[in-house]
Symmetry: D2
């Protein structure tokens, strides 16, 4: 099977997410990395792309150059990944969709709800895939949880409790560290800090697994390091359209939690728990029964969970391969086998709507507000 052509925007030298995308795209042999505009400094971007094996004429200085260069090639890229600073996601994604490219956009997809609705419309018009990198949803055992909910193993879902907390921004002495500071600067980060950075992953995961969307919410934000303009800690209570009770805690000052993304879903007939630091297991408890340890790779898993598990039971797979699973889904979908689990622009839009609703609620002492984007009400 011929490899698909892939291009990357952003993800230059020193980027954290760049390597995960390069590995994700290439790991399973689905994509060839043939084009890139990797840095906001044109020369740095060109030379880094060349170092990574991209041909000279496709090592672009800017995304606009790349758009121009690729759009008319016969062997143009099949998929563009947008891994640039958040505020540029909207413009780049929109431009490439309109030019007929499939796009994988990093989260957050946009800075505003209006932009999010625009991307949804553009994607629909273009007939192209606009995926958003909610990569935690691509862990095999997360797919399995979704399949279990759909199959009715838990019965009606009552409650979903999810956390995404870490302590990497807890050191007040590091307040001037640029990698930390921009997160709490509204000019760079937008209306929200921790909620927009981490909370939306947890919220997407809850929707993904339960198959139900946030309808309304009440939020309490805190800046635990006092001079931060944006929240570094948030609690969000919500209800889904289907009536599920939701709780979401997110914090960047939780010293001792490293990558504390976890989710618990409780239904009539059972409940389960998944923890992102040990992503290959699910703790599943049928109501009235014992807790069982489900393992990636065990016999009897559902289709996607089985397919996205590359190695045998108890051989762990981790974060980079969850990103790779997004690319597996993308390759399959581009080749015509649609993967409906792939997170798309609608998910990116819903996240933005929820973040803005949470900001609004927190400013109004926790008032309950509609968390849906206007176009989905």
């Amino acid at each position: 099977m011929k490899k698909l052509n892939w291009g990357l925007i952003g993800g230059g030298a020193g980027s954290q997410i760049g390597p995960a995308h390069r590995l994700g795209a290439q790991a399973d042999g689905n994509f060839a990395f043939v084009a890139g505009a990797l840095d906001h400094r044109p020369d740095a971007g060109r030379s880094f792309a060349a170092k990574l094996g991209v041909a000279e004429d496709r090592a672009y200085g800017t995304w606009q150059e790349m758009l121009d260069g690729e759009r008319n090639r016969a062997d143009r890229v099949d998929l563009v990944t947008v891994a640039t600073p958040n505020s540029t996601h909207f413009g780049i994604t929109k431009a490439f969709l309109e030019a007929g490219f499939h796009v994988l956009c990093e989260k957050p997809m946009t800075m505003t709800v209006e932009e999010g609705e625009e991307i949804v419309r553009v994607a629909a018009r273009s007939g192209r895939i606009c995926a958003v990198n909610y990569c935690y949803s691509a862990y095999p055992m997360v797919r399995e949880m979704r399949a279990m909910v759909r199959r009715g193993d838990l019965g009606a879902i009552r409650l979903v409790v999810t956390n995404f907390s870490h302590g990497h921004h807890a050191d007040a002495g590091e307040a001037d560290n640029p990698r930390v500071r921009w997160r709490y600067d509204p000019r760079l980060a937008g209306v929200s800090g921790q909620m927009a950075d981490c909370g939306i992953h947890a919220l997407h995961l809850a929707s993904f697994i339960t198959g139900d969307e946030v309808e309304k919410l009440s939020a309490d934000f805190a800046s635990c390091i006092a001079d931060r303009e944006l929240e570094d800690e948030a609690m969000v209570c919500y209800r889904t359209e289907g009536g599920i009770v939701g709780r979401l805690w997110t914090s960047a000052v939780a010293v001792g939690r490293q990558h504390g993304l976890d989710i618990q879903v409780f239904g009539e007939n059972g409940g389960f728990r998944w923890v992102s630091e040990q992503p290959n297991q699910v703790m599943w408890t049928p109501t009235g029964g014992r807790t069982q340890i489900m393992e990636k790779g065990e016999a009897g898993l559902s289709g996607e969970a089985a397919e996205l598990s590359r190695v045998a039971i108890a051989h762990p797979e981790g974060f980079p391969l969850a990103v790779a699973n997004i690319y597996v889904d993308l390759a399959a979908t581009i080749r015509g086998r649609i993967r409906e689990s792939l997170p798309t622009a609608s998910d990116g839009l819903r996240s933005m709507a929820a973040v803005h609703a949470a900001v609004d609620s927190a400013e109004r002492d926790g008032a309950w507000v509609d968390a849906r984007p206007p176009m989905f009400r």
Copy 2:
């Protein structure tokens, strides 16, 4: 050292908490079990007391009989434990305090805030100890966490996150099980279900460890099993008098959590986590450092943590001995060596005030309300 005399009210045959009190009082040889009114059915109570070795003349049919019988004895009981149905705690506790007995009351100490204030006043007037059985605070490693906060190991506390969730009321088919049903019946349980049953333990623990009290809160209650009149699930956001951000989640429908009481405290200089199902360890992370596993019995623990640890490091001690630690504190205090860690009527009152505040907030869509008892404002 002569044993102190101890009497028990409630805790009859089949009671869950009765055995823990009998073991707790006797385990360390501090108390002799000499009097009891163990059952609301006088004959059953007398014969059960006799079976447990209580002398015939002190195996009482009712608590009033016991009050009359004991008050004039030279060898009267030094301490009375009240382990009766919740709605009777107030009356019995008050009567025994007024008659000059030390009392250990099960939680919740009262049903209303007014009753709670009355107990605080009566206890103060009487000069007797009125303790409340917040036994989780008596685990050695919980005492150690409190000592660490006091010593400043964590610096200023920013955030406390606590959960007390289980799944033992999740089976809708068991709704008529009398052991479950009364919890959600306002005539028996009062204004609150899960919050009053479990949430207050978590809230006390947070106050106990941080040394700071809840000032105001916003609550979201849910009845996940729809026909329950009282909540079986609650999220409470709060702030303490000292400005700490607090989050408390409690649920009775969290299938797969058995006894999910845990607490995380995050400060400037570090954070720790304790889980009640593994009570002999604390996970402690200094800001910027590695997580360390602290063990009950390790060298260098603070006074109370060392004193309440009976056996060597990594020999686990559990729930019944946490209850026993409350009796160790009581014996010491009665003998004149005051243990300020002992939870008292003030704690019982604050719990009631917080529960009533949470009910009020939940009824008003999460409005922030004062959570302090009027007498402490």
Copy 3:
């Protein structure tokens, strides 16, 4: 029910195991602590006993005094616990058995196999109980594992793997610490160090759970701290009379293991694992199925496991109450309801035979030797 009378020999001030016995005997109200010879220094022993509430005339200076004092009393002790230095266990136990007392002896029951056989004979002749404090076997979930094996849940047992390793003797700089040094001094500890101290607990546990006894073994001993005359580390391979393959690892220099006693049993139809630091759970895996977490206190446990669980599911119980369970068994047996799970002199003898066999094998480069006491061959 009248309390039984209990006396303690050894376990003086500063003893580690003394408090566990006092708590164990008194926790459940079965025994009254009425007599003691607690210290090899008569005055210290008498005054410590008095401090603990023992009447003056039964606070003895020596075990011989206690034997003389108790044997002719109408209210003489029903049970004597022997918690003295190892080399004195044999003489004291024998004397009290011959005088018609029930005895609970600390492990190791004797120093030699011959002494062990003598105790077995004396106990049989006397008709008295001679129990040995293999208290790990009294954890509820250990009893449950035994019940599961008996019921055939695992099918034929193939393999048992057990460890008892810690790191508390790993610091070469503490070699002169008297609490460490005597363990490796043949004049005080006998023929074996770590194997006699810890290994025999693991070996007893394996026999207890599988219901099968060690027949022959091959051992490899090491003194990881070079100048120790006795082993601080040992590996023992064995076969049981029923053909089970056994492996036992024990070490005192395993830095980072605190109280690393655990056991895994593997049969045709499933396997389970129990870890002494989390004694309230068993991980059970039926062949071809998922691992399940069994919990102390869960519905459906076997008789003894249910009976020895004092508090509800997921309320942990720990080491002191495992010792207390031995006293529950003793009280029941003394009162005529025989508890066959109680470890007795036969178990104490088999341990000694296994230790001596291991020493012999280790000295002969791991030659396989008969591990059974002569009287049981």
Copy 4:
């Protein structure tokens, strides 16, 4: 940087290890998959290679064809991976080395010690790399442990305890399953079953981390499923050339263990533990101190551990990327930056010598035998 050319022998459709090699080679963009002889059925191999994107003229029917086809190409493969049945490793590896190719051979490298010595000699003569896929040694935290030992953090090493046990061959009813059966058939598996399949990974890991090699050993083998001709369970006691005490347990009938490879190393100044199912953490305990949780990606890791960690702290990486790390090492070494951590033919040879020694010892009742290959004595 231009990609290196890579070819694969074996690893056809349905193979377990094939996908791990393809992913490992391509994940980081170091190798292009340009040639393959993937199946013992020539047509199946050719068509599978074509399906994976290999050009038609390099989709070979046999490894001999591939050798002939590649040896004279200007763009010949830089590295050949041998992932064929065990008995063919020797011949293929030798042939490709002699033809001047770098080779990565699956374990076991050979069936006999003599063959192993031959490969060592051929590799030395050829000046080519002969690596062996001991991929567990390429986990970042395993590299970190090795670095800690070298740096002296543990002081002199006293003891290494390692296990590799699973339960996937425990079902006697599956004895005829061909994926299980060949392991215990001497005609296909050689002299050893479980020891050769799993034990050697654990043994390599111990040598890798401690930097010390097995000198002599004593083994006890068992066939827990009785009609197996080769062992499915083994215990090996050993001593290293440097005097470290070693214990190795391996089993294929340990129901409930999934991929139970773990290692504990104990030295004068501390000990650590690593578990392959959670490969991103190490539990490290300095003597006399608390256990600390080390995390992949934490600040301050040694060079290789840092370099082989692709994503941030607490973003797990798993087995396929450990295999990929072997390819990272290979790419670096081929490009002239020698990675001395890469397992080579000497390691493959030592494994074979140890397996044969263990078989010999087990047959002679655990006699201690020299475990070194003759050429290294």
